[in-house]
């Protein structure tokens, strides 16, 4: 195996808010090699975006936040860098695609300005050179009439088109790691597919590493190599995508999969539900954070936090590296489960 391009070790992000400290990311670790795609899934508020931003270094130690643990990108500790050095990473090393293409483009700047200023800053190319490359980038992400689009304002484009622009900007400096934070949540289904396909093909072409953040399990399922399921700031389960979705071991993952209506099921099929709501992150429950909603919880779960432990390879046919944080993981009942 090649050495990992991204190493995240016991990452913990704490926000200091007036209501108290919020531990939005609580001891997450993972590795990612070039060409690999990692899916981060979980319900709203479970810390996916904060994790993405902390990995990038956009959230770092400050008056309002404390970050511990380490993030190494290409061997460099992101949080040990000076701000100006870190800025130099953003673009050529790490790119980011945001959830909402409506708000992640400056409404008063032309598309072209967004692209060229990034190129000028990082590659030091001249304006005309940057413009040429910008047009190329737009073409590459499948935008027709790219040259004309350069002079348009974001509001003059459709949502899907805008998201393509955002991707083009993120990829303009050919980063080696792309963090896509729910890149398709705001888009229509038909467009969503196009964008996900686009990202997948770009990652493949450029041999990039990508973190795909999503709460849509379906979106992650087809397009990632590995997946991490998060709940209340912690990783509850991780492993090869197919393996996790086909036989979930954590009660949360299992319940989540069961609560999604499937096209294959006949109409009026009752869905499985997870009762209750995710915990308030300022006052998380003791022990396992999923305990209050968990059907399998025992007394023990309320006291001791389960650690993310690897499952024995024998237990996980097909793929290795499965990890689960549960005292009472679901035990395989043969091949009947899954989709």
């Amino acid at each position: 195996m090649t050495s990992p391009f991204l190493e995240v070790e016991d990452l913990r992000t704490v926000f200091h808010t007036p209501r108290g400290d919020v531990c939005a990311v609580d001891g997450v670790s993972f590795r990612l090699t070039a060409g690999e795609t990692l899916g981060l899934v979980g319900e709203s508020g479970c810390g996916k975006s904060v994790l993405g931003r902390t990995v990038m270094g956009l959230v770092s130690n400050s008056r309002t936040a404390t970050v511990t643990g380490s993030v190494r990108v290409g061997g460099v500790d992101v949080h040990g860098l000076k701000p100006s050095e870190r800025r130099r990473l953003w673009g050529p090393e790490i790119g980011m695609v945001f959830q909402d293409p409506m708000t992640s483009l400056n409404p008063v700047k032309r598309i072209g300005t967004h692209l060229t200023e990034t190129l000028c800053r990082h590659l030091g190319c001249s304006r005309s050179e940057a413009r040429k490359r910008g047009v190329e980038m737009l073409r590459e992400v499948g935008i027709p009439e790219a040259a004309r689009r350069m002079d348009q304002y974001p509001h003059e484009l459709s949502g899907g088109m805008r998201q393509r622009v955002v991707i083009a900007i993120a990829l303009a400096c050919r980063p080696r790691l792309l963090i896509a934070d729910e890149p398709t949540t705001a888009l229509d289904v038909t467009v969503q597919k196009q964008i996900l396909d686009l990202l997948a093909s770009l990652v493949a072409d450029r041999h990039m590493a990508m973190i795909l953040v999503s709460h849509d399990l379906g979106a992650v399922a087809g397009r990632t190599d590995r997946v991490q399921v998060m709940y209340a700031g912690r990783t509850v389960e991780s492993g090869a995508t197919g393996s996790v979705f086909d036989d979930a071991r954590h009660p949360y993952t299992d319940a989540l999969l069961g609560s999604i209506p499937r096209l294959e099921d006949p109409p009026h099929t009752r869905l499985r539900t997870i009762e209750g709501t995710p915990p308030d992150m300022a006052r998380p429950p003791a022990g396992c954070r999923f305990r209050p909603r968990c059907a399998r919880a025992e007394e023990h779960c309320g006291h001791v936090s389960p650690v993310l432990a690897s499952l024995p390879a024998a237990d996980t046919p097909g793929a290795g590296g499965r990890q689960v944080a549960c005292h009472y993981p679901i035990v395989l009942e043969g091949a009947t489960r899954g989709r």
Partner: protein
Amino acid sequence: MARRILVPLLELLAVLFLVSVGVFLLLALVPGDPAVAVLGEGRTPQEYEQLREQLGLNDPMLVRYGDWLGGVLTGDLGTSLVPPQTSVLDRIVSALPVSLELAVLGLALALLIAVPLAMWSAYYQGGRVDRAVSVATFALLSMPSFLIGLLLIAVLVNALGLFPRNEWVRPGDGIAQNLAHAFLPALTIALMEAAMFTRILRADLVTTLREDFILAARARGMSPIRIMLSDALRPSSFSLVTVLGLSIGRLVGSTVIVEYLFSLPGMGKLVIDAANQGNYPVVQGAVLVIAVIYVASNALIDRSYGLLDPRTRRAHV
């Protein structure tokens, strides 16, 4: 398309019409006989009566209003009752540049103070500077302009002798002199306005800085200064521009206190003096002109958003 230009225009005209009616009526109710204002004391009752007749003061209100409005529409705002009996228009033409200069200088100074301050405190939101700026701007906003003016005069003119005493020098008589004399009054205006501008711009900047596109710009590796200047400032300036526009219109008539304190021959002083002398044509004319400026500047501001925000540009063209 025609509708979109015509309707606001008609509304503007309606506003101006109402202002003219209001001003006319109000001043018609004010005690004090214009004939006395013209002739001064010590004339025979017949003389006053004769003049009243001559001025049309005995006509019904509607006729008088009609006459006045007719004059206004043909560019004749009447003649000052109290000598120097120059035409009202002349008086306004000589007073307006003073007020405009004060307003423009004051606003320019205010922006000069407010923009960097707001950017600084928005960037270090919640920090020491931010808190200090917040308290200081509040303190300024809490001080009536006459107190600020009195303080500035007491300190800068009387105690330190840094600036020349009141009196106005027209730009035509030397720009340097003019600026030296205009500085203190402009500063008084600027301090008030700067406090307001700072708060408004800071609040908008803070909101903008929370936007995704700022985060996105950071994620592209842009430097903080560049982000503040080229990404945050423009989208945050809509409220400021609105207030700025309102201020220009408002200041032309609202520098009263400052003009009074520094005895500058601007619109405010013109109106107050005229009001004190019972010189109605001047008051009416001046208020009407101020209203026109206010209404016009507002309309211009409304139309200028397109320059700042391309999203609205299309809708206006």
